[in-house]
Every structure is written in structure tokens, then in C-alpha cells.
């Protein structure tokens, strides 16, 4: 590299490359702010996959029937795999997996707020697979276009598996929706509870701050939160209705002119409260994660001992 290249030149070249749709790779020059944003974003995404195992995982012992149980185990295992893929993608930017894991266990890291809500019924498993994973896929499909190469590649692999998650969730919901009145009431109750939390997943409406504009310009993300949410709503509303289920929003209606569903915004104050720790399940989620980490300690110690043996 020519040492006369100025910082402005480098930034201009970086922005040109990104605007052309080129991917940025770990060893490339990148603005500090780009690196920091991506470490934060991919780290939070990884934590979300890890914590996301818990609300559904608790139902594994009670799944009705062997096939549902196997399916649920496979789905939860996929989420663990997604977490690992994403920790690795974040690591290529210079923060170790260990540091990220410690931040999560210390309660210092953010993860998807939606997992701070409880799963009191079996129908929640279906509604999470269908609605939560659908909202996640809309976001992750957008992220396949992100300018950071390792993140985009992880998203491709993950989205493929998510389609299994959505389908098994839909199948579970559809089965209950066609079942007894009790089953139908159970699944309707789950839709009612999860509707607004899933709307919150794409984040509050962008204020189009300099920061948002910059991440759009650098193609860290390629759509605004509002666009992602609208896409999710447009996809899911007709599908929920087709099963004879209702959505807890009286003002929900299809707007012929814009060809989009207009909907009531979720309570953004609630999001703030829950993100900051005051949700129904925040404490339990972390407690379960910490216990799992402790329970796995002997395995890690055994592996470390083996490593020494190999090295000796």
C-alpha cells in the first residue's frame, strides 16, 4: 500500500466500493465507526440466537409426540448453530467470542427483546417459529445484502435453515387452528400475546439520524426499520387470517392505494422498559443461560485438559 494515501482517500475509496455493491472483508481497510457498528450489531444478533433457544427449549420435554419433539430439538439446535456462526463473524472484526459470551452472562449485552416474553402454552412454540422467525427472516434476508462479507455469508446459511423454522411453526399453528375449540383458543391466545412483541422486533421507527443514514450509506443495513416491519406485516397478515385466526388490532386494514397493510404501532415505551431489564422474563433468561454455562464447565475443562495432552 502506498503510504501517501490520506484518510479521506481511504474513506472515499471505501464508500465507492460499498456503493458498487462490493463486499468488505475482515482484512480490508474500514472506518472505525463501521467496525464498531458491525461488532455491536453482529454480537447482539448472536446473543439473540443463543437466548432465543430458551423460550421454546423449555417445551422440549412436553412436546406432544415424538415427531414434534424431534422437530423442536432440531430447531433449537439450529439456533445454537446460528449463534456460533454469528460469534465467529463478529470475531473476524477483532472482538473475541469469549468477550462477547462474558458480556452476555454479565447482563451487559443486548439481545432481541422478543425473547423476554414468556411461553406459557404449547401454542407459543408454533407462534414463535412462525411469527418470530418470519420477522427475523425478513430482517435477515435484508442482511444478506449487507456490505460486510462474513455477515452476509452467515445470513445466507441461516436464512436457509429459518425456512424450516417457519414451516414447522406454521404447521403447528395450523394444526391447532383446525383442532378442538380449546386448541383454537390456545393458538389465538398465543397470536394475541405475540403480535405486538413481533412488531417491535425490527426496532422503533428510524429517526433518520446521521447514524442511520450512515449505516444505510455504508450498506450495513439496506432498509429502514419501518420498511422491514411493513414487509413482515404484509407477509404475515393474510396468512394468519387465512387460518381463521384474528390479529389484535382493530385498525388493521389494507390500503388499496399503497398496497400495504396499515397497522397500529406497538407501545414503544414498553420496548424501552423491557430492553432495559424490566420485562417479564429478563431475569429468568439470564439465570438459565448462566446455569447452562456453569453446567457446561466440566466439558470445557475436559476439552482443555485434552488440548494440553495433545500439545505435550
Amino acid at each position: 500500500m502506498n503510504s501517501q494515501v490520506t484518510a479521506e482517500d481511504q474513506l472515499a475509496r471505501f464508500e465507492e466500493r460499498v456503493a458498487r455493491g462490493e463486499k468488505v472483508e475482515p482484512g480490508d481497510w474500514m472506518p472505525d465507526e463501521y467496525r464498531k457498528s458491525l461488532i455491536r450489531m453482529i454480537g447482539q444478533h448472536a446473543h439473540s440466537e443463543i437466548v432465543g433457544q430458551l423460550p421454546e427449549g423449555k417445551w422440549i420435554p412436553y412436546a406432544p409426540g415424538f415427531r414434534r419433539k424431534l422437530t423442536l430439538i432440531a430447531k433449537v439446535q439450529d439456533e445454537a448453530g446460528h449463534g456460533q456462526l454469528l460469534y465467529r463473524a463478529a470475531e473476524t472484526l477483532g472482538k473475541s467470542r469469549e468477550e462477547m459470551l462474558e458480556e452476555l452472562l454479565a447482563g451487559k449485552a443486548k439481545y432481541a427483546n422478543v425473547f423476554n416474553y414468556p411461553t406459557p402454552s404449547w401454542a407459543d412454540v408454533g407462534v414463535i417459529g412462525w411469527l418470530v422467525d418470519m420477522a427475523a427472516v425478513v430482517n435477515q434476508t435484508m442482511l444478506q445484502q449487507t456490505s460486510f462479507g462474513p455477515y452476509a455469508r452467515a445470513m445466507k446459511r441461516i436464512c436457509y435453515e429459518e425456512s424450516f423454522h417457519i414451516k414447522q411453526g406454521y404447521d403447528l399453528v395450523a394444526t391447532l387452528a383446525k383442532g378442538t375449540p380449546e386448541q383454537k383458543a390456545m393458538v389465538q391466545g398465543a397470536i394475541d400475546r405475540w403480535w405486538y412483541p413481533t412488531l417491535m422486533m425490527s426496532g422503533p421507527p428510524d429517526n433518520l439520524s446521521a447514524h442511520t443514514l450512515q449505516s444505510l450509506k455504508w450498506r450495513i443495513k439496506t432498509k429502514t426499520n419501518e420498511q422491514v416491519r411493513q414487509e413482515y406485516v404484509d407477509l404475515i397478515v393474510p396468512q394468519i387470517r387465512a387460518l381463521g385466526l384474528t390479529i389484535p388490532d382493530r385498525d388493521l386494514k389494507y390500503d388499496e392505494k399503497s398496497e400495504h397493510w396499515s397497522y397500529t404501532q406497538p407501545d414503544w415505551e414498553e420496548l424501552k422498559r423491557v430492553v432495559n431489564g424490566d420485562g417479564p422474563m429478563n431475569k429468568e433468561r439470564l439465570a438459565v443461560r448462566r446455569k447452562a454455562h456453569e453446567d457446561g464447565r466440566w466439558v470445557r475443562e475436559a476439552l482443555a485438559a485434552k488440548r494440553k495432552e495433545v500439545a505435550a
Binding site: 500500500m1 439446535q77 456462526l85 465467529r88 473475541s96 467470542r97 469469549e98 455469508r153 476439552l303 488440548r307
Partner: protein
Amino acid sequence: MSDTQFDTYEVFHQKKKGDPHIHVGAVHAPDPQTALQYARDQFARRLACVSLWVVNSRDITATDYQDERFFSMVLDKSYRDPKDFDAPLKETNV
């Protein structure tokens, strides 16, 4: 506490015999054998796979994207290209 930060191993995945091994990602593991097991769980639990390779990430030597000169074609290299020759032979597989 540093019991979660193992070495990373790059994973190469072969879908069926005769195909090339393709890089699919990396796993954290204390040794190559364990890396193979993690690689199977992470990259071969669903789609077809007949063989995996793992290589400690440290052992990979790579070119630098910024060093564009490394691949630059200063000279006309068309003499290396089969398309550049007018030979009335049955198409070989190019």
C-alpha cells in the same frame, strides 16, 4: 476465565465424492479431532456431506485484498487462454 476461547479451525465441506472441498466457515475447538466433531454438528447436520477438512486458522496463509498488484495482469496473457487459439479440434472441456 478463558475456558471458552479455543483456537479456530476453518472448515471445508465436500458434498459428494469427486466434488471439491468448499470453505463453509469455522469452529472453535481445542484440537483438530474435536474440531471435526463440531464441524459435523455445525455444517453437516442437515445437508449431504461425505468429507470434512479442518485446518487451524493460524496455518492459513492468504493474499491481501489491498495488494492488488499481486494478481495484476501487466502483460497480455492471452497466450495462456485456449480461446485464443484457432484449432479445429473437438471441444476439450474448458
